[in-house]
């Protein structure tokens, strides 16, 4: 087992190096650089900087060096000093900008993951054990709808309904008056009244797919002889279903839990932009548009690292549960 983990972890290292390079290349792809974007923004505001000044700024930021030199400077700072560089647009170290938002993203996403599972597992079990009942059909329709509706569209519709019919103020995480207020119960309540839309949006998208998976897994298991045996022993239905087949049907869930980690960080990008949440999504979008390369690159890098770590975790979990994989 230890050898397996070590093997997998070793494989992750070249992947990480490749990804860090790719993320740096991607953000360098657009013609022009941050200074060009900055000058354009200034011109938009009616100000002007001379080409000489632009050149000086480039020199100062080190933008004139070859790409490989810039990459090396960036990546060695991250690895050796944990320094993600400097956001040119925000005029602040990347790490101070990122960590708060990452934490917030993580909080929202994990809450939505819990909600997703809390919806998907019972509904999937019910759908399978009462196949073709009215509710099963209803959940099936819901599952397909959830698969077809893009997250951001659902967010828009919910926002509109909450605004037009419930007269609620939506978007963002706090109402303006609570934005900078110290924490209190009122602020917490305000947060909760804003939080439900992103949670519902993220949970519906995920739950729709998981319900189908859970239902299919359960249907496979329910017909097996051991279930019949359990019934024959005189156990109640609830006990039979929840103690035996559900545990087996959950296996694919467990093996994919690792993949939920990167999805937690990146899945809500578009929803967050629509709902104006102070999470990673809008900042990444803005950084990409402004060619604020250290910020955007660090974001993509961190998200990718989480993906790789997530895949590693799910590999290890899979091996844990299935000796065939471990010994292959």
């Amino acid at each position: 087992m230890l050898a397996f983990i070590g093997n997998r972890a070793l494989l992750a290292i070249p992947t990480l190096i490749f990804i860090s390079f790719i993320s740096f290349v991607i953000i360098q792809l657009p013609p022009g650089d941050y200074v060009t974007a900055y000058a354009a923004q200034l011109r938009h505001a009616g100000e002007y900087i001379s080409p000489l000044q632009e050149e000086m700024m480039r020199d100062q930021f080190g933008l004139n060096d070859p790409m490989i030199v810039q990459y090396w400077r960036w990546i060695s700072d991250i690895v050796l000093r944990g320094d993600f560089g400097y956001s040119l647009e925000w005029n602040a170290p990347v790490s101070t900008l990122i960590w708060y938002r990452l934490m917030l993203t993580l909080a929202i996403s994990s809450a939505s993951l819990v909600l997703t599972w809390a919806i998907a597992i019972p509904v999937g079990v019910y759908s399978a054990s009462r196949q073709y009942s009215f509710l099963d059909h209803l959940f099936t329709v819901f599952g397909f709808l959830g698969k077809g509706i893009p997250d951001f569209l659902l967010a828009l519709i919910l926002m509109w309904l909450a605004f037009a019919y419930l007269n609620m103020d939506v978007g963002g995480l706090f109402s303006p008056e609570y934005q900078n207020a110290p924490w209190s119960f009122a602020k917490l309540g305000n947060l909760l009244s804003h939080l439900w839309i992103p949670l519902v949006v993220l949970a519906t998208g995920g739950a729709a797919g998981l319900i189908r998976v859970m239902r299919a897994n359960m249907l496979d298991e329910l017909g097996k002889p051991y279930v019949e045996t359990a019934y024959a022993q005189g156990l109640s239905e609830a006990r039979v279903v929840w103690t035996y087949p559900v545990r087996v049907a959950l296996n694919p869930f467990i093996s994919t839990v690792g993949w939920a980690l990167p999805a937690l960080f990146s899945g809500d990008v578009i929803t967050a932009v629509v709902l104006n949440l102070p999470t990673t999504g809008p900042l990444l979008l803005q950084a990409l548009k402004m060619q604020d390369m250290y910020l955007a690159g660090s974001f993509i890098l961190i998200l990718s690292v989480f993906t790789v770590v997530g895949t590693l975790i799910s590999d290890i979990l899979l091996a844990w549960f299935d000796p065939r994989i471990r010994n292959a």
Partner: protein, 377 residues
């Protein structure tokens, strides 16, 4: 004579059984597919949608960029059949525009006096059909030049949303299909090489796929799409966006193809072909690929909605296609903020189109996947 009558009576019952044995795979697939009611309905829906998109110039009553200054954010016009209790066929009422005296907000009211019958194959604006011919025939329209028929209302520049939806469908659907073609070529080539040869080739292609999949999709899309300069020609941007979508989508297809190849690599008929001295290329293209076409078609159908959703999301964020190109994602940009949605909910109709299309492709793909193995049951 008697023999013949007996034969002709007995024939139908026997034929049906015989049919099953002599049916070609295509017939069997079609028979299984047509049992899947939702898939058949989806197929029809998609065919009609594709025709609408292809003939968008004709189906749409107005040009997609035709601005009507006096008809901004007009609500959808309802179609009526009876006027004052009398049947007059399908018609719409005229719309009169006023301003609220206090708020100066534009208000529209239907004018029950003006009855505008809907004319089919109506002569309206000129258009050029893909540079092939000029025409001015539209599927439907109204005669009055000052009034319009807006099935889905108008946007803030007074452009007909229904017309724009049809034209946008052309871009969005073709982007999805072209993206799938790119992904298909990449996935098929690499997947078949990987599955057929195995060994270190398989290993390195698998590693490459893992690498691509380990970069989170949406940020990667955003990063690549942001790299496209705004000033480029919209057509070039369009092709590049589909390429970007395909660049990530192909790994999925390659997986399906590789799995199939691994499954049939050791079948007897492949061995036979090899013993007969067929080249690798011939074995792959003539013997192995045809046996998995149905699986590949099903996988392709299921890949289209992802491309469509990707295009829509990117354009919606302002990173994909940009106006003046009309796509469903670009249309949804108008519905980005709360104010415009609460003022004009019909601006969300491109979203409904996206949802219906994605669902139809999913159902169609499910139906095809079930029908893919006609000998399954």
């Amino acid at each position: 004579m008697t023999d013949q009558t007996i034969n002709s009576i007995a024939a139908p019952a026997k034929d049906r059984k015989e049919d099953l044995y002599t049916a070609t795979p295509a017939q069997l697939i079609w028979r299984r597919f047509s049992k899947h009611a939702l898939a058949v309905i989806s197929l029809w829906f998609l065919v009609i949608l594709a025709l609408c998109a292809l003939f968008a110039d004709m189906v749409a009553p107005y040009a997609p960029f035709e601005v009507q200054r006096l008809r901004t954010l007009a609500p959808p016009t309802g179609i009526h059949l009876f006027h004052e209790g009398k049947f007059v066929g399908p018609f719409v009422y005229g719309l009169s525009r006023e301003r609220d005296a206090e708020t100066a907000r534009v208000l529209y009211e239907t004018d029950p006096e003006t009855v505008l019958p809907i004319r089919f194959f109506h002569q309206g604006d000129d258009y050029n059909f893909f540079g092939l011919f000029q025409s001015n025939i539209h599927l439907f329209g109204v005669d009055d030049r000052r009034q319009q028929i807006n099935l889905l209302g108008t946007d803030d520049l007074g452009r007909d949303v229904f017309s724009r939806l049809m034209h946008g469908g052309r871009v969005t659907l073709s982007a999805g299909l072209i993206g799938v073609v790119f992904a298909f070529v990449l996935g098929l080539t690499l997947g078949s090489i990987s599955g057929y040869f195995g060994g270190w080739i398989d290993n390195s292609i698998q590693r490459l796929m893992e690498l691509i999949r380990s970069v989170p999709t949406i940020p990667l899309w955003m990063g690549l799409a942001a790299a496209l300069p705004i000033a480029w020609d919209p057509i070039v941007v369009y092709v590049l966006i589909t390429l970007i979508l395909a660049l990530i989508g192909w790994t999925h297809l390659a997986r399906v193809v590789r799995g199939q190849f691994l499954a049939i690599r050791n079948e007897d008929y492949v061995m036979a072909a090899r013993l007969a001295g067929a080249t690798e290329y011939r074995i792959i293209t003539k013997h192995m690929l045809p046996s998995m076409t149905s699986y590949i078609i099903a996988a392709l159908t299921l890949a289209v909605p992802e491309m469509i959703l990707g295009e829509t999301a990117l354009s919606f964020l302002g990173l994909g296609l940009r106006p003046p190109v009309v796509s469903w994602g670009v249309l949804l940009q108008d519905a980005q903020n709360l104010r415009s949605i609460s003022l004009a909910p019909w601006l969300l109709s491109p979203g409904a189109a996206v949802v219906l299309t994605v669902l139809a492709f999913n159902f169609l793909g499910d139906g095809l996947r079930d029908a893919a193995d006609p000998y399954g049951q």
